[in-house]
């Protein structure tokens, strides 16, 4: 082995490459292979399991058929995801800012506490909200007990679906955002103020640009997660709107049409990764951090 690597003109296996083999194997087996399989299924004969043995565009033809209304599921999923990210940006920024003000360098650690609810299954937490909002539930019942006419009918609407998504994905926005804000050196804010800048200008010119890496990572993470969300629309939304993930799930389970599910999944992956990569390309971490 040692001889081969010495005498060979271009050794194929450098020690670095050999050391990376376990990770490469993991990536290929755990990440690339399933993706390739899904992509292959998308081109298989509909309602069959002829993966790698058939090639057809029938699944895509069916999806893009003008009579097919599956596009509404894409629209709902993406609209809900965008709305969720937008709300989280507005909700989390003040919290992250406050955490940094109050806890200083420990704010990152404190924001981890917001992750604790994740130890409880998402479904359990969502059913908790169902009990809260349901007729004669916590909200409605309490209001009636207090003599009011009862709570509003919130359950099983697109609005409550959005609420569920905001609730579930909040830690994924808050944590990177808090870290992003914590990265702003105190001196820079002091210096900007010393040079005459008011609170708003300091925020716009110094704090926001310097916290941007954390904010963008949070936005990206929550967007990808909420575009793939399914439980909120089912449990809280009561299928008042169908998101694309639910269509994919149905195709794989009840309909037993794996090629159709794969084709839908492939399109979703392309849309989400296209949007994410566009955002990533504009997010130049080195430039923002001034390391280049």
């Amino acid at each position: 082995m040692a001889d081969a690597s010495l005498s060979a003109p271009a050794p194929k296996l450098t020690s670095g490459f050999r050391a990376s083999l376990p990770v490469l194997f993991l990536l290929v087996a755990g990440f690339l292979a399933p993706l390739v399989t899904v992509a292959a299924y998308a081109f298989a004969t509909p309602k069959s399991f002829d993966v790698f043995r058939s090639f057809t565009l029938q699944n895509f033809a069916a999806i893009f058929d003008p009579n097919n209304t599956v596009w509404t599921s894409f629209v709902w999923a993406l609209a809900l995801a965008f709305a969720c990210v937008a709300i989280l940006l507005v909700v989390c920024y003040p919290i992250a800012f406050g955490l940094n003000k109050v806890f200083g360098k420990w704010s990152g650690l404190v924001s981890v506490l917001f992750v604790f609810p994740l130890f409880v299954s998402e479904n359990v937490r969502l059913y908790g909200w169902v009990l809260f909002f349901i007729k004669n539930g916590v909200l409605d019942g309490a209001l009636k007990w207090l003599g009011f006419s009862g709570g509003p009918e919130l359950l099983y609407t697109p609005g409550i679906t959005l609420f569920g998504m905001v609730y579930v994905y909040l830690p994924f926005m808050l944590f990177p955002m808090t870290l992003g804000i914590a990265m702003i050196p105190r001196d820079l804010v002091d210096a900007a103020s010393d040079l005459g800048a008011g609170r708003f200008m300091i925020w716009r010119e110094i704090e926001l640009p310097l916290a941007m890496p954390g904010i963008l990572i949070g936005a990206l993470l929550t967007f990808v997660l909420s575009a793939g969300a399914v439980a909120e629309a089912k449990i809280l939304g009561g299928q008042s709107v169908i998101t694309i993930t639910q269509d994919i799930e149905v195709a794989f389970t009840y309909a037993q049409n794996w090629p159709m599910g794969s084709a839908l999944a492939l399109i979703l992956v392309l849309i989400v990764s296209g949007l994410a990569l566009t955002a990533m390309a504009r997010l130049d971490l080195d430039k923002i951090l001034g390391k280049r």
Partner: protein
């Protein structure tokens, strides 16, 4: 020039004859959790002066500067700027500017954008801003093509110049400096010290500089204030501080010195070993204990030909070359170490057993 103002109220200064100070501090204190970082400082800073506050780390000099810049407000006392009380005026409403130790350059901006920041705050037109930024860059000797350069790609000395240009762009009445040169190498530091002094002269602005380096203070300042444990121990011209330190702390802070503790006895002063000490006439010391401070260059080897007012014997145990001068470490009989510095031409030729001494006129007597 009255250096340390008596604890007078701010408006009483108008009655004094000296030009009205641009900055006046009266009994300023800053307490953090029961600890007084700045413990009662009164100080007048005149228009156009270059004042340096020197002190070891933890002496409260940065806290003092942050109060002057408006980044902290004093717990007690008054700070006035041109006679106006500014204790609680926020930093963005003060005509003062601080150059931070970290320089605090905005990493996501170009050199030009950094310098133009205070001009953008004032909503100056873009072309005018650019013109002013280029003028300032020329003033601090930054090449014009640095205008569009990422500020984080600049070298240490260049960043220094950007920070300076940005401070000047704010056009403050008083500039504060928080050890901005501490991170630079010796040669660059020396160069920038002189440039800073030039800028001070050209601009006619008031500079307040803090540092722990005496050398830096000596080169640039009109007046030096020495801080210790939240108080200004002494303030005066570099010459005054060097030749007549107020106490042992100041004397020791200003470089290597020999210190001989003395006490009052019948008919004069004596050393610890009981030998009488010749003290220059006219020295008056309160109390019964004092220290004689002799700089190494005034300590010399005593021979039959050349005697000295005060002598002690000891053994040479180290010899250093300081370039044109030589320094010897001599251990006395009582185990104390003394420094003797002589020109290279006067190198000690004899054996290690020596007698060293000093003349009363070359020694300074300071209180305990």
């Amino acid at each position: 020039m009255s250096s340390v103002a008596a604890s007078s109220l701010p408006d009483s200064s108008a009655a004094t004859k000296s030009p009205r100070p641009v900055l006046q501090l009266v009994d300023v204190r800053k307490v953090f959790d029961g600890f007084a970082a700045v413990d009662g400082i009164s100080l007048d800073i005149e228009e156009g002066e270059f004042v340096t506050i020197v002190g070891p780390s933890g002496s409260g000099k940065t806290t003092l500067l942050r109060m002057l810049a408006g980044l902290e407000s004093p717990s007690e006392g008054y700070i006035t700027l041109r006679g106006e009380l500014i204790n609680d005026v926020p930093s963005n409403r003060r005509p003062t500017c601080l150059v931070f130790q970290s320089l605090a350059l905005f990493p996501h901006m170009t050199v030009g954008d950094n310098i133009e920041f205070p001009l953008r705050v004032r909503k100056m037109a873009p072309e005018e801003r650019r013109k002013r930024a280029l003028e300032l860059m020329a003033k601090v000797r930054l090449p014009e093509d640095y205008y569009a350069k990422n500020v984080m790609l600049c070298s240490g000395g260049e960043k220094q110049r950007v920070a300076l240009a940005r401070a000047f762009a704010y056009d403050p009445d008083v500039l504060f400096f928080d050890e901005p040169l501490s991170a630079l190498d010796y040669k660059l530091k020396k160069l920038l010290e002189k440039e800073l002094k030039d800028l001070h002269r050209e601009s006619g602005k008031t500079f307040v500089y803090i540092t722990h380096s005496l050398e830096e203070a000596m080169v640039m300042s009109d007046r030096i204030g020495v801080m210790r444990a939240g108080k200004v121990v002494q303030i005066g011209t570099p010459e005054e501080i060097y030749s007549t330190p107020a106490d042992r702390f100041v004397a020791e802070f200003f470089g290597e010195v020999n210190i001989v503790p003395i006490r009052r006895a019948e008919g004069g002063w004596v050393r610890r070993d009981g030998k009488p000490v010749a003290v220059a006439s006219g020295v008056s010391i309160d109390g019964d204990e004092a220290n004689v401070v002799i700089r190494p260059e005034y300590m010399r080897f005593v021979t039959h030909e050349a005697g000295a007012d005060n002598t002690l014997s000891g053994t040479i145990f180290n010899e250093y070359s300081l370039g044109s001068r030589l320094q010897y470490q001599v251990r006395s009989r009582t185990g104390r170490t003394f420094l003797v510095e002589v020109p290279r031409a006067a190198a000690w030729k004899g054996d290690g057993e020596v007698t060293i001494g000093w003349d009363a006129g070359n020694a300074i007597v300071v209180g305990g």
